[in-house]
Structure formats: C-alpha cells, structure tokens
C-alpha cells in the first residue's frame, strides 16, 4: 500500500525550475531514499511533502488523501514527522523538553486547559511523559542526558535528540534530511541501526535524503534518483546502481562516449 504519493509535482522559484514533473510512490513500511547531486531538488521535495513549499503544479497524497492544500502544522498533526539538515532543536531547553514538544500535536486538551495547566491537561501530560520516557528515550539510548540542555551536547547526540523529538509525534511517515551528515563512521553506524529499528519496531515509513552512498545502499528498500530537478530513476538499490543514467550523473562521462 502506498502511504505517500507525490504526483507530477513541479516547483519553480521565479524563473528557476527546481523540480519538473516529479512523481513517485512510497510503500508503507519502506525506507525510501532520495539521492542526487547537490542542487538536484532533494530538500525541495521534502519541503513539498511536509508543506513548507507549495508546488506550482501537482499533488501530494498521504494515507490515500490529497493533502496538497494543508499547512505544515496540519500535516504534522496527521502523522508526518521531520528532522532537519541543520539541527533544529530548541537549544535553551533540556533534552526532555525538546522531546515533549514533539508530542505537542497529540495533546487533546483545548486552549484554555493548556493555558492553565490543570485537570485533564495535567493528567494527559503525565501519561504522555511516561510513554515518551519509556519508549523513545530507552530506544535511542539517551537516558543519561535527558536533563541536560541540548546546546551542551555533541553533534551526534543532538541529531539523536532531534530524532527522538520527531518520534515523540508518533508519526506514520518520518522525513529525514541528511540524518548522518557530518557524522563519523561510528555515529553513522549507530544512526543507520536506529533508522532500521524505527522501521521494524515502530512500523514507521521513512523517507530520507542522504549523501552517504554506502549507508543508502545498505538500508534502503527503494531509491529515487533526482538530477537537475528531474526524476532519473526509482528502484531497488541494486537496480539504481546499475542504471546508466545514474552512473553518468554521478561519475560524469568520458569524452569519447558522449
């Protein structure tokens, strides 16, 4: 079943065509990777899926519904989690507070209750906190740093907290923009393991952008290749690696083959 579909999407900034007629489907439970050279439009695709950009043409379907008209907060509330290329944590807040913000969209109490923090709002928060602590913090192995302010943590750990925050939303789909960028080999391996576990244990579909080819080919179920805003191909890692257009885009071509 397709949990997410991007249908014939084009995007331009002024005269610059960023994406041209891009379509693809993401199957429920897959790890779906988007790769391509710099400037190919990868982050733009993520921004279109999460609602920050409105495409010039085309539609986005989520769980079978057309969500093209919804704002990013509504999409998040429907189960679309996101992590960012540049860590977008709240630096002054503790790890736990950051994670609690992720559960924000699941608080059912209305404005007045939330405003005054009594009764149902309080009980709800307690229940939520327990669930978050037990599941996500244990799962991502960040027990020891839960009280620390995020700004004081090492880069790799910050990325992990950002992931924890996104998971606290209990998303159906998790969009990850370069989850291992700037990480060393060990941190990258940890992150790859977490991503696989998220998929298997939490039944979350993952759409990720990454430049680390080894990791992509190791963990992805399907790979979409973009080049200059156009879809080159989409398939299993094995297929994609053999695709002549992909080799050309990544390695260039010899003069005599041109």
């Amino acid at each position: 079943m397709n949990i997410l579909s991007v249908d014939d999407v084009s995007l331009s900034f002024g005269g610059l065509e960023v994406l041209t007629d891009v379509s693809f489907d993401v199957t429920q439970g897959d790890i779906f990777a988007i790769i391509g050279p710099n400037g190919a439009g990868k982050t733009s695709i993520l921004n279109i899926i999460s609602g920050f950009y409105r495409p010039k043409k085309g539609k986005v379907f989520f769980k079978g519904n057309d969500i093209s008209h919804l704002g990013p907060d509504k999409r998040a509330a429907q189960g679309m989690g996101r992590t960012f290329q540049n860590i977008a944590l709240y630096h002054g807040m503790s790890v736990l507070d950051n994670i609690k913000l992720g559960a924000h969209s699941h608080l059912k109490t209305g404005l007045m209750g939330g405003l005054w923090y009594w009764g149902a709002a309080h009980r709800e928060e307690m229940a939520m906190r327990k669930k978050i602590e037990e599941d996500i913090i244990d799962f991502l192995e960040i027990e020891t740093i839960r009280k620390q302010p995020v700004g004081s943590l090492a880069y790799g750990l910050q990325k992990r907290v950002e992931l924890a925050r996104a998971l606290a939303m209990r998303p159906k789909v998790l969009l990850m923009d370069e989850p291992v960028a700037g990480m060393n080999a060990e941190e990258t391996e940890d992150m790859a393991r977490f991503i696989l576990d998220i998929k298997e244990e939490h039944d979350i579909t993952i759409v990720l952008i990454e430049h680390d080819m080894k990791m992509i080919m190791d963990i992805s179920d399907r790979v979409l290749v973009l080049n200059f805003g156009q879809k080159l191909t989409c398939g299993t890692p094995g297929d994609v690696q053999k695709h002549p257009e992909v080799i050309k885009a990544y390695l260039g071509q010899k003069k005599d083959q041109a």
Partner: protein, 296 residues
C-alpha cells in the same frame, strides 16, 4: 547623606520599576514570538487606559468588571492588528515592519483624539487614598497598588510562559519557526496569540499609569521611555524586561532625587540612557538577550 531620603528614592524607584517591567513585557511578548518590535506599544497602553476610563466614568462599571473587559478589548485589538496588518507583512524586511508599527501608533493616537478629545482626564479613585508608610518611607498609594497589580500580571505571564502549553509553543515558535511547524504547532496562531498577549500587558500598564497621572492621548509617549528597558534586558527575555524595569526605575529616581537639584532638571530622563549605554558596551545583546537578536 541622609539615609531616609536614599531609601525613599530607592523604594519609590522600585515601585515605578515594577510598572515599567509590565509595559516592557508588552514589547517582549510580541518580539519573542514574531521578531517584531512594536512601536505602537505606548498607544496600546493609551487605548487600554481610555477604554477603562470610559467603562468607569460613562458606564459606571465597577473596576472588577472593567479590568476583564479591558483585557478582552486589548486581546481583540492585538488580534485585529496582527490579522489585518502584520499578517500581510510576513517576510517583508524588518525595517518596513517597524515603519508599519510606527504608522500604527500615529493612527491609534489620531483615533483616540477623535473619540476622546485631547484634553486631560483623571481617573475616579480606584484605590484607597491613604499613603503606605514603611517606617520613615512614604509610598504613594496609587503607585503602591499599581505596583502590586503590575507584579500580579507579570507573574501570571511568567508562569504561563514557563509551564503552560501555549507558552511552550510560543517559545518554540520564537526559537525556530520551521521546526515548530513540524511539531504541529500552528505558527500563525501563535503570532496572533502573542500580539493579543502583548496588547493585554500594555493595556494593563496603561491603566496603572493612567490611574497615577491621568490619561490623555500622549500617554503613550512613555512607551519610548520603556524602550531602553527592553534593550537593556535583552529584547527577547521576559526576566530581562522585569530586571531592566527595576534598574531603570531605581536609577531614574536616584538621579532625579540627587542630581536634578544641581542641574535645571532633566537628569532624571537622561540617566537611564546613560546606564543603557554602559551596559550595552559590555553586553551588546542586553543583559539576558539571545545572541541572534536584532542589533539596533
């Protein structure tokens, strides 16, 4: 040096400072979530004071009905201003947005003159007239009760920001709008709420100031005096606004008491700016401001 005079100056400075803090909060609440400096804060105060005056004098309502009504009106004013004017300025350069708020302040001033005229009016007595005596120190009753009221409002806002969901969401919005969106926070609603909150804080300050010195359309000019407080404390820090308020209140009173007799007056108004200058030399972002904020 006479100790009694010193304590007298310090304590009335402290009381004035608490009221300044509340008005400074009117700036900070809006800046924190939206990164907009609202130069119409003084006029929000003035409108709040006039509405309260009208409710008391024309409709003969009790202050206990008047306060909640002013809160509702201020929230409405803040919401309308954000929805009808500032919402359209999203993504425009900061300087244009600042000009819009300056324009807004002129409009509010004009509207107030059209409705209430430009003459000076004083409030019917709100609090007991009897001055408060602390040993040798005499505190004016309007100032004292006004201070208590201001502190109550400030504390409510502090608690709201620290613990309530809407406060956390506003902090998140201020920090990183894109991430806030991804957490399912409706960022635009947060903008509206913060304008409503800012207008409420300002209007409460307006009532207190109006009760002390009477109300006229130029009551809002005190907003300009509050501005150094906000810069001093750091534009986006609530606690900074409170501490900045106290510093300016006390410095102003001490300068007025000790130095004004030697000059032809005016030191009182100048002193806060001199302190501001020194603090900014050492800490360019204000005492508690975050580093990324706009430098003026």
């Amino acid at each position: 040096m006479n100790m009694d005079i010193f304590l007298q100056l310090i304590s009335s400075g402290f009381l004035v400072g608490g009221i300044y803090a509340l008005i400074a909060l009117g700036f900070v609440l809006i800046y924190k979530a939206t990164n907009i400096i609202n130069f119409a804060t003084g006029e929000f105060m003035m409108i709040g004071a006039y509405i309260f005056y009208s409710l008391m004098v024309y409709l003969k309502l009790s202050p206990f009905v008047g306060f909640p009504l002013v809160i509702v009106c201020a929230a409405l004013l803040g919401t309308l201003v954000e929805r009808l004017i500032l919402r359209h300025m999203l993504g425009q350069p900061n300087i244009s947005i600042i000009m819009v708020t300056i324009g807004l302040s002129s409009i509010l001033l004009g509207v107030a003159e059209m409705i209430w005229g430009s003459s000076f009016r004083s409030f019917p007595p709100l609090f007991p007239r009897k001055p408060i005596l602390l040993g040798e120190i005499v505190l004016r009753s309007n100032l004292f009760y006004g201070f208590l009221m201001a502190m109550a409002v400030v504390v409510i806002f502090l608690i709201l920001f620290k613990y309530a969901k809407v406060g956390v969401a506003m902090r998140a919005t201020a920090n990183d709008q894109m991430a806030a969106f991804s957490m399912g926070i409706n960022v635009k609603t947060m903008f509206t709420i913060s304008w409503a909150f800012g207008a409420i804080a300002a209007s409460m300050g307006g009532i207190i100031i109006g009760n002390i010195g009477g109300v006229q359309p130029t009551l809002g000019h005190i907003g300009l005096k509050i501005f150094p407080i906000v810069i001093l404390g750091g534009l986006d820090s609530i606690i900074g606004a409170v501490i900045g308020g106290f510093i300016v209140g006390i410095v102003e009173n001490l300068a007025g008491g000790y130095l004004d007799p030697y000059f032809h007056g005016g030191v009182k108004d100048l002193a806060p700016f001199i302190v501001l200058l020194f603090i900014l030399l050492i800490k360019p972002y204000g005492l508690f401001g975050t580093k990324e904020i706009e430098r003026l």
